[in-house]
Amino acid sequence: MSEENSRRPHHVEDLSVLSRRGALSAAEQRAFADALGASATLAAAHQLGLDFDQIAVVRPGDDTLIAQVATRSVSRSSSRAGGGWRLRGLLLVAALALASSAIAWWQRGRSATAVGSPTVTLAGPSAVHALSLPIATATQAPPTETGARAASSSTPAAPITSSASTPRTTSTRVDEPGARTFDSAETLFREANAARRTGDNAVARALYLRLERDFPASDEAHLAHVSLGNLLLTMGRAAEAEQQFASYLGGRPALAQEALVGRAQSLAALGQSGEEQRVWQALLRDYPSSVYAGRAKLRLAELARSATHSN
C-alpha cells in the first residue's frame, strides 16, 4: 500500500508493523531489536503479528468465493433498491395477463378457432420475460475459478435465471455431487471441505472420492486422503479410513504425522492392536519430537498393559 510512502517518524509499536512489511531501515532494525529485548509485551505482540501473517495467504478457491459473494452483495442491495420497480413490473404483468385473458375470452366467444392463436398465447411468455427481466439484469453469472479476475471488470456476464438471485444459504451443500462438473481439483477440494464443515458427511465423502478419482495427481487429491480418512473415522468407517491414511503415507510426507495418528486410531477401532502398536512406534521413531509423541507413548503404554493382562 502507498501508506508506507507517507509514514512519519514512528511510534515504537510501528517498528513491528514496518518489520512485517520489510520496510525497516538498518537503524530502525537496530532500534527494533533493542525494543524487543526491552519489552516482553512488544515481543509477544510482534510474534503474534507474524503468526497472523502466516495465515494471510490466498487459498485455492478464494477468487471464486469472492466473485460469488460480491455478485450476491450487489444483487441483494439492488434488489432492495429496485423493489418498487419490481412491484410495478408485477402489477403491469398482472394487468397484461388479465387483458390477454379478457381478449382470449372475447375471441373464444367470437370464434372457436381463435383458441391457441398467437394473440392468446403471447401473454404467457411475455409475462415470464417481464417478470424475470429485472432479476436477470441485476445478476451476473458467477465466474469460474480461472475467470474470476476477468469477471472483476465492469463488463457484465450473461444474465442468469431468477433462481440465482436467491440468497445462497446452502449453496456449499452439494446434494448430488455425481451430477455436477468440476473444472479443477481446487474447486472440488473446496466443495468437499465445505460439505465436511457443514456436517454433510456423505456428500463430503463422495466429493473426496471423486477428487481422488478425477484428479489423482493433484496436491489436493493427495491431501484429501488425510481429510477423508479423518472424516471416515468420525463416520465409524475405520477400515476405509485406514486405507486412506495408508495411501497418503505412500506418497509425500507433509502431513505424515497426522496420517500416522489417524491410521493408528483406525487400527485401534478395528481391534488390530499389533499393527496399531507398530504405527505408534513408527511415529515415535520417525518424529521423536512430534506434538503427538505424548499421545503415542500413552497409547503404547496402554497397549503394553493390555497385552500383560491378556497374558
Binding site: M1, T41, F52, I66, S77, P156
Partner: protein
C-alpha cells in the same frame, strides 16, 4: 453500522496527496454505479476475506456467512465514506467490526470448541515448519481470538487493526477516527491483556503435555 458512518464523518483528514487507487471506484460505487460496486468488492475481496479469516479462524463454519455480511456492510457504508483513510482500510475496518460482532454473538459457543483451528493447521502444514511450531502459533492466534470477545470493543478493534492486520498507529487512528494517543493507550491495554492470555495458555499447554 451507525458508528462507522458517524466516525467516518468526524475523523480528521489524511494528507491530500495520499494515493488511494481505489478511491475513484469507491466514489462511483457510492453514487450507485453497480459495475463499480462489484469491481470494488472484487478488488477488496481478498483483504476482506483475509480479515474475516483472521478474526474468526479459517475453520469457522460461519466464515462464508460473515464474509457475505461484511461485503453487504461495505456496500451500505460506502455513501458515508469521506476519504479520511484509504478505501482499503475503510473496507477492512468494516470487516473487522462485522467479524468481531459475529465472534461476540458466538462467544458462549466458542468457549466449548477446540482452542486451535485444525483447518489452519492442515492448510499450513509444510515440511520446513515443524508441527510443534505450527501448533504453538495456532494456539497464540486462538488466544487472541478468544480475547477479542472479552476485551472492550474499542480495544479489541485496535488490537485487530494494529497487531493482526498490521496497520501503523497513524493508520489505525485515521481509520477509527481516534487520536493517535488514544489508539496507543487502547493498544497498550489490549496488549497487556493479550500477553497474560498467551502466557496462561502456554502454561495450560505445558500442563497438558506433562499430563500426557
Amino acid at each position: 453500522m451507525l458508528r462507522l458512518l458517524r466516525s467516518g464523518q468526524e475523523a480528521g483528514t489524511l494528507p491530500a496527496n495520499r494515493a488511494d487507487p481505489l478511491r475513484g471506484i469507491a466514489n462511483a460505487a457510492a453514487r450507485g454505479d453497480r459495475a463499480a460496486q462489484r469491481t470494488l468488492l472484487m478488488e477488496t475481496g481478498s483483504a476482506l476475506l483475509r480479515t474475516v479469516r483472521a478474526v474468526l479462524g479459517s475453520g469457522s463454519p460461519e466464515l462464508e456467512d460473515v464474509f457475505q455480511e461484511a461485503m453487504t456492510a461495505v456496500h451500505l457504508a460506502l455513501p458515508g465514506f469521506r476519504g479520511e483513510c484509504s478505501t482499503l482500510h475503510f473496507v477492512c475496518r468494516i470487516a473487522v467490526q462485522t467479524a468481531m460482532n459475529a465472534r461476540r454473538r458466538g462467544r458462549t459457543r466458542a468457549r466449548y470448541v477446540d482452542a486451535t483451528d485444525d483447518v489452519e493447521l492442515a492448510e499450513l502444514a509444510r515440511d520446513e515448519v515443524s508441527p510443534a511450531e505450527l501448533l504453538a502459533a495456532a494456539r497464540r492466534r486462538a488466544a487472541l481470538r478468544r480475547l477479542l470477545s472479552e476485551l472492550p470493543e474499542l480495544q479489541a478493534e485496535v488490537l485487530v487493526l494494529h497487531t493482526v492486520l498490521g496497520y501503523t498507529i497513524e493508520e489505525t487512528a485515521a481509520v477509527t477516527g481516534a487520536p493517535s494517543n488514544t489508539v496507543r493507550s487502547r493498544l497498550r491495554a489490549a496488549l497487556a491483556a493479550l500477553r497474560q492470555a498467551v502466557l496462561a495458555d502456554s502454561a495450560r499447554l505445558e500442563i497438558v503435555r506433562e499430563d500426557s
